[in-house]
Symmetry: D2
Subunit: 340 residues, 4 copies
């Protein structure tokens, strides 16, 4: 039985508590939040769970095996490092840290201590994203041509991070899992419409080795909600619309075919294919429950989670490069790769 | 009565011929195309119209007052210049030329000869785009925050121009008309998936003076067709979906409101507004018919058309900058402004 | 402070408990269910609430002021009558009883005892249905021409009632509230595809005094989920789509206009109007919370609820007639009106 | 080469002329219409085609092999009979006549004279309806449970026929082709909102031998356009949405499964299946062109068309029964079957 402590009981914390409470092999032992009124909600609902306004009480508790952190991004590094140093396995919200240097330090610390470090890339644990990865990696889609994602709505303006760190982080974590390839460079553009606040609308292009391009549009100030990803391959293409109640994934047997021109061997003629569309049945179920169980299993078996620190680092690295590029109106920025 | 000659009877030419044939105050007198079989279709349908495979026959005909050119982009400049030099008023397909230098030369020539020069920015003559301009320029939307457009489908790969010159040209001409503001710089990214062909997927950000940003996504290789523009203002926002049968324009009374923070006069608190949505009734009618009549009126009255050579130049200038930026993975390129 | 007891803790019971627990002026004192395992869930979540597998314990408890019944339809009458006879105010699930005779008996009993009798027509307490009633009763829609509703999905086959009693009951309760008019007769058709089970697909037409017609399509065996109502008036028309995340109500300024024919005063020419569409902003909020508070207020102030026993009776009367008509392949059945 | 004459050049006539002009093995020889101005359009467009305001000129012309009739329903019988008596093969608009007696008389006359009689059930010649028939008749859908169709919009009020004869006729002709089964009885309801005009909203249920039911909703006074058919089978279900640009047909692997109850062999437990959705690629192409060619082939080869007089009669019989039932508020009316 793994006993989990949760630091931060704001928007996401209650979901973590509920899911660990329901996960086999796990129980929730401690919850902390700076606000006492949030803790009284915990006590009302889960009378046996300890609470404190000081996360150090949780970390000092020897009965806690693992810690889940759901606090603002700017506190991730300090709290995460403290948890690892207290010998706790760690599940940390995305983005895992404010910089790639911080992310690397967390990875190193967890490695040294042989603790499980998992980043809460929740979408990776949905059946829709799992299906996209399966179709991509099995070769069903052919060569991958592009990944294009739009994640916009009238959303909460964040004060400490821009819209890419808040919304595009979802797309980058999905893309990392589905494509299993890392971009070489990033060009990003964006704008802040409220003086003194971070950018609330942003666009981000990623270049890869070979004929693959990726793009994310994130916007906190859109009149309509859109959650749509296009994944284009040489053989098939996918539309992933997360707002669809069912049929979130549609696979189109559609694309171009290249034929040598009769006039010149050097020229290719472009033909068009239009075939069936197919929406695979996706089992229902809460992704966070799948993820909570996976975290418990990784601790039990001492294996690396699907969304480990390296996955978290790759996403932070892209966000970091995007912020640099955005400050220079789209000038491309290389993704520096250390030997992690 | 204005007698119009049409050069090029491929995809768009038949629409020009039909609309000038139906426009009051106009008639079609001459059609040329390099392919004789296209001309036989003209003769079958319009027995009284002269035809030739040589556009010089048309230009030499003193009975022709105005010329409409619907040929590939690479020929626009040469044919347009020849038409103007033959003393004909000119309606030319978009983009009006392959470079801003060519566009400027056409403007100068038409100016010197006091001939009407109009660019076929067809969307400008739709009731939907007219309504967007009206709402924008009347101040209904408040300060304009962003213009975001997606124009994708499984479309014909062009051989001579990339997807921005083929698809984004529509968005740029609409944006120019609606916003009445010109970008300062452009950052564009894109990729060609067929070796030796122009880019078939591209993204283009435009920066303006002040807190306004614009973006266009164009793609010839998408599994689904999307034609959607978001226009965000401080008071209201518009979604323009050209694939909707009716209700192409939806106006959302939605956005943020800024209030001084009680704690600090320097900090603004962001509030959210969600109000009614409204879809104004848009009269039906073919935009090209409106445009054909406007061309005839401009000739009759000697006035500049709504989509004159300067509008055409502004669009070409953006495409030119985008192509330069795209070659450098998004490095921003300034829009040089000459004194036209 | 009103203390509420809830009989039945299956699908809907937990929602009743949660909403009365949160409603100001109310608390939950007792929950009963035949299944002990359901009650252990109650105790885990609400330790202070009394539980029993025998509803008579609840009815015998003098601390309970009001009872909410969420059990199968066939038990409504017996349990409701027992609750009233125990002197408890009563909130009862829809349809309120298995026959109009039973419904009338409940009304009479509550009247004699001066107890509040409310039927849980939940939709009546949504902002969408409230807006429909407002637009209908204010005359905004003009003369009401038709009410057409579709409520279909792959749903749970019920064992004791047919699909009209299970699904159409929602539409009939909405219609009763919005139109404030009662049908004169009913023609219904339907079929059972599983031998020995009630009809799982059914259609029901209602005739009114004057040029008004209503129709409901209910189906447990549809591949897609549809929740859509059309409300046609002479001046405006409404589409109510409950599956829309926002914009559930769209008001169309669309219809026909009648003009005397120039040739004959006896003949009317039909013209067509197409105007704006408008989606009023609807405040969010859980309908059952609104309803729970309304129940408490009605008890406190001794007034009749918006969905009182008479509303419940009118709905049962229609269902009863529909079942009769369905057994005769659509033969129309009059709605007998007693002097209630 | 079959020479076709067309009687009636209103809304549909021009489509018939254009399609026969383009069909291999056919040419258009004669067009008549009561209005001279319509004929001048024919002459402008097709100079070699003879025209007259008197259909008797066409019928008297020995050069005409076949006649297509596109006039109001009330004239179908008289004109169709005259054409057959003049020895012409006949293509007639739907519904083929105003009564089943008339339809039978046309069938008899054509049979006696060994002339081809085809009814213009255009939808039967679309790839979408062809696919529905294929999936239904191959057993892919399992046992057919229901056919449910909605065909509504703000449409032209007809003066001589009600909305079933105008709109539902499409659904009935599709259903006849897809199911290959004929209803036993009909219950229909409806209402006229304009005094002195036919019913503009109507509902029609059809009962079959066995556990199959069908329903059509037709409405000229709806704020939105809907063209949607559900076809439910025991193994799979189809949604046919004719307003979808592509993906008109969606096949759902969804339904119920029946298992013997462990407690009683007499009771079946209902289980639910939810599988993939699949949208078969449907070739584009104009249905009327397919139909025109089929008519020509039937004449050439002396075979009965897919939509022969018997198909037309079956549809008229249903409409006739529906009108009778509607006059009695839904009382069921049997479909009398003569030995045709």
């Amino acid at each position: 039985m793994i006993t989990v402590g949760v630091i931060g009981y704001g928007y996401w914390g209650p979901n973590l508590v509920r899911n660990f409470a329901e996960a086999p092999g796990a129980r929730v032992g401690f919850v902390t939040d700076l606000r006492a009124e949030r803790l009284s909600q915990v006590s009302a609902r889960y009378p046996s769970v300890k609470v404190s306004t000081d996360h150090r009480d949780l970390l000092a508790d020897p009965g806690i095996d693992a810690v889940a952190i759901a606090t603002p991004v700017s506190t991730h590094f300090e709290l995460g490092m403290a948890a690892l140093r207290a010998g706790k396995h760690l599940l940390i919200e995305k983005p895992m840290a404010s910089s790639s240097a911080q992310a690397r330090a967390l990875i190193d610390e967890a490695g040294r201590r042989r603790l499980v470090l998992m980043v809460d890339h929740t979408f990776v644990y949905t059946s829709a994203v799992g299906k996209m990865r399966e179709l991509t990696q099995s070769g069903e889609l052919g060569d991958i041509y592009y990944y294009d994602s739009v994640r916009i709505n009238l959303g909460l303006f964040q004060h400490d991070v821009n819209v890419l760190w808040d919304l595009a982080v979802h797309d980058l974590s999905i893309m990392d899992f589905v494509l299993m390839r890392e971009p070489l460079s990033v060009s990003a553009t964006g704008l802040a419409h409220v003086a003194g606040k971070p950018e609330n609308i942003a666009y981000m292009t990623m270049f890869f080795d070979g004929a693959l391009i990726a793009h994310v549009h994130a916007n906190w100030l859109a009149p309509v909600k859109v959650r749509r990803t296009l994944l284009g391959g040489s053989r098939r293409m996918i539309v992933f619309d997360d707002l669809e109640a069912s049929e979130k994934i549609k696979v189109y047997d559609r694309g171009i075919s290249l034929n040598p021109s009769p006039e010149s061997v050097y020229q290719m003629l472009v033909g068009y294919r239009a075939g069936d569309m197919w929406a695979p049945h996706l089992p229902l179920g809460e992704a966070l429950q799948v993820e909570a169980r996976h975290f418990v299993e990784c601790i039990d078996q001492g294996v690396a989670p699907r969304t480990d620190g390296h996955a978290g680092l790759r996403v932070v690295r892209l966000l970091e490069a995007a912020s640099q590029s955005m400050a220079q109106q789209g000038r491309p920025v290389s993704i520096a790769r250390s030997l992690v």
